[in-house]
């Protein structure tokens, strides 16, 4: 890694802090400017005495000016204290997220891994059989895979495999169902999550393989009498990997977004379901924590992608 690139990456890393504060500010402002009052929602079950509502607002710190609230909140998250949830039995937000994180990571990790394992050979084969039947089929397939609404695919799978055939459970049975021992629960959510990723990834593998295969060093490798398979997978693929890093990065960044719909349909006890519930309940601390943490995660992944770029390809120079 050259000194120039090193300095650039350090500068990028230092930018993480103001960027995270910026993301927090946007979400904080949006949430607090929206109509509706969490205090009102909390007391409504016990009647609506204005004094009680005022007391609840004071307890939550909602009576202070917005900037002061933001300052207090920022100070707390600097110490990794995201406060306690308004609902969810008043659990500390970090505990709540920790409980759900595993289920989401397991599901998404599995989906991402399977996508890579399927997409790479698919893309390579499409590239080597360019403009032949296999290539056209994968092109058509990825077109369909990308346009397929995930929630509809999930419903169709449930309709066929749970309702009609009764082969797979339609949804998890709650908190304890996310263990790897319950493999059947994973099958449909993983299919739904990996199909669009396979569609995108295989296309990128194909087009970068087509670019790479025409280059001199591949011809040279052929001239040296190397077999077609080692040429493709060891020499060509190595140089086709770069754009894949970007795509994988952006897919990982969409983790939470993708989780919301799928976890909702399959009753998966993960972060996506938590996000959905917290939004419906106007649970400000949970919404804020989830947004800021995923925002930070996305920024971190973008940085990681740049670092990987530099590590893989020494020719790259940032300025």
């Amino acid at each position: 890694m050259s000194g120039k690139n090193g300095a650039y990456l350090v500068r990028r890393a230092l930018m993480l802090v103001p960027m995270t504060v910026g993301v927090s500010a946007i979400v904080f402002a949006l949430i607090h400017l929206s109509p509706g009052d969490p205090a009102l929602a909390m007391v409504s079950e016990q009647g609506s005495d204005p004094a009680i509502i005022a007391q609840v607002r004071a307890n939550l710190g909602l009576d202070k000016p917005l900037l002061v609230q933001f300052g207090i909140w920022l100070g707390n998250i600097a110490r990794l204290d995201f406060g306690t949830a308004y609902s969810f039995n008043k659990t500390p937000v970090m505990d709540l997220i920790a409980q759900r994180l595993g289920a989401t990571l397991l599901l998404q990790g599995l989906a991402l891994g399977i996508s890579v394992l399927i997409a790479i050979p698919l893309g390579v084969m499409a590239a080597t059989r360019r403009n032949r039947l296999f290539d056209h089929l994968t092109t058509g397939g990825s077109f369909l895979g990308l346009a397929l609404p995930t929630f509809w695919l999930a419903l169709l799978l449930q309709l066929v495999f749970s309702v009609r055939l009764g082969w797979l459970p339609a949804a998890t049975a709650g908190q304890d169902a996310a263990g790897l021992g319950k493999l059947p629960y994973f099958i449909m959510p993983v299919i739904v999550l990996s199909l669009p990723t396979i569609a995108i990834l295989s296309r990128y593998v194909r087009s970068s393989m087509i670019d790479v295969v025409g280059q001199d060093y591949v011809t040279a490798a052929r001239a040296r009498g190397l077999g077609e398979r080692p040429i493709l997978y060891r020499h060509a693929l190595k140089n086709a990997v770069l754009p894949m890093v970007t795509i994988l990065g952006s897919q990982a960044a969409h983790l939470l977004s993708g989780s919301v719909v799928v976890e909702n349909i399959f009753a998966w006890p993960g972060l996506g379901a938590l996000a959905y519930d917290s939004i419906l309940r106007r649970d400000y601390p949970v919404i804020l924590a989830l947004t800021v943490l995923t925002g930070f995660f996305i920024l971190l992944i973008n940085l990681a992608v740049d670092i990987v770029y530099v590590l893989i390809d020494p020719r790259i120079a940032f300025d």
Binding site: M19, I26, T139, P149, L156, R203, R282, G295, L299
Partner: protein
């Protein structure tokens, strides 16, 4: 819910060339669509959807809100092509009228995306310097918030409705367009014909509107088509989660959510509205890819 598009004809990172250099880009559009059956099918389907949306009130066999007494949850038949729902409404009629809902959300949301994206991108790319820096850092910030999460948060907090949906999709989706347009402006403003216009005394506003902007139309057009399909997909997802159009609006997403509890007995409630979303999204994607291929000299050679 991702909103990426496929590099179907061009290598990743390949950039569309300006229309200025070729004789007539529109001729290429016609030829590209004429010669590729997939693009052509997409275009025809898009025209069909638009016609259905316009003519829906005349086409429907029953009113979308009309109750057909004693006919709840009837399977598809010659009287009710797509069956009926629990409230005895004809699903075929509701799917046709749903094209109106979805298309109008798509059009308004995309209009917002394009206005914000093009204006910010143009300012950023043309003026450069600290203005460019400020706008691009703000774009980075918004990009760092998971889009769909932001979408459902705003939609839920500002009481969900069709209007909220349009505005929210528009406000959370302009970033990629802004970046693309900025890149084009950066490139074009250094070109001779723009410099010449400046030397001849043309004002900044005139240079932007008359000399640079027309050359970005191909990119804007491709973006518009692709965002139309993405916006419609986002609307369906939101409505499906109960955070978009509210019942009894015949939105395809709402209809899917409505049929979810009756999947055991009435599969047609799950199949037909979803199929409508799927086909519409594919058709708009095809047209987008067709336009991209037509405007991209790289793919023309291949």
């Amino acid at each position: 819910m991702t909103t990426q598009s496929l590099p179907l004809s061009a290598a990743p990172g390949a950039r569309e060339q300006p229309a200025a250099t070729s004789d007539s880009p529109w001729r290429h559009v016609v030829v590209t669509f004429r010669d590729n059956p997939l693009y052509l099918a997409g275009a025809l389907f898009v025209i069909a959807i638009i016609l259905i949306a316009i003519l829906a009130p005349i086409l429907v066999p029953y009113g979308p809100e009309a109750f057909n007494r004693r006919q709840p949850l009837k399977p598809p038949s010659t009287t009710f092509w797509f069956g009926t729902d629990r409230q005895t409404r004809d699903i075929f009629s509701r799917v046709l009228v749903g094209a109106r809902v979805t298309l109008s959300v798509g059009i308004v949301a995309t209009a917002i995306i394009m206005v914000i994206g093009v204006v910010l991108g143009a300012i950023s790319g043309y003026f450069g310097g600290w203005i460019d820096n400020a706008i691009m850092r703000f774009t980075d910030l918004v990009l760092a918030i998971p889009q769909f999460f932001l979408l459902i948060a705003i939609a839920a907090l500002f009481s969900p409705s069709l209007t909220t949906t349009m505005i929210v999709i528009g406000l959370t989706s302009w970033m990629s367009t802004a970046r693309l347009v900025r890149g084009e402006f950066l490139r074009l403003r250094a070109q001779d014909f723009v410099l010449a216009a400046g030397a001849l005394g043309a004002t900044k506003g005139r240079i932007i509107a008359r000399h640079i902007l027309p050359n970005t139309i191909p990119i804007i057009l491709v973006q518009t088509t692709l965002w139309l399909s993405s916006a419609m997909l986002l609307e369906s997802s939101l409505s499906f989660l109960g955070l978009g159009a509210q019942p009894p609006t015949p939105s395809w997403g709402c209809m899917l959510a409505n049929g979810r509890t009756e999947m055991q007995t009435a599969w047609w409630q799950t199949v037909f509205p979803g199929l409508a979303i799927f086909l519409t999204v594919i058709a708009f994607n095809m047209v987008g890819e067709g336009l991209r291929a037509a405007f991209d000299p790289r793919s023309r050679r291949r």
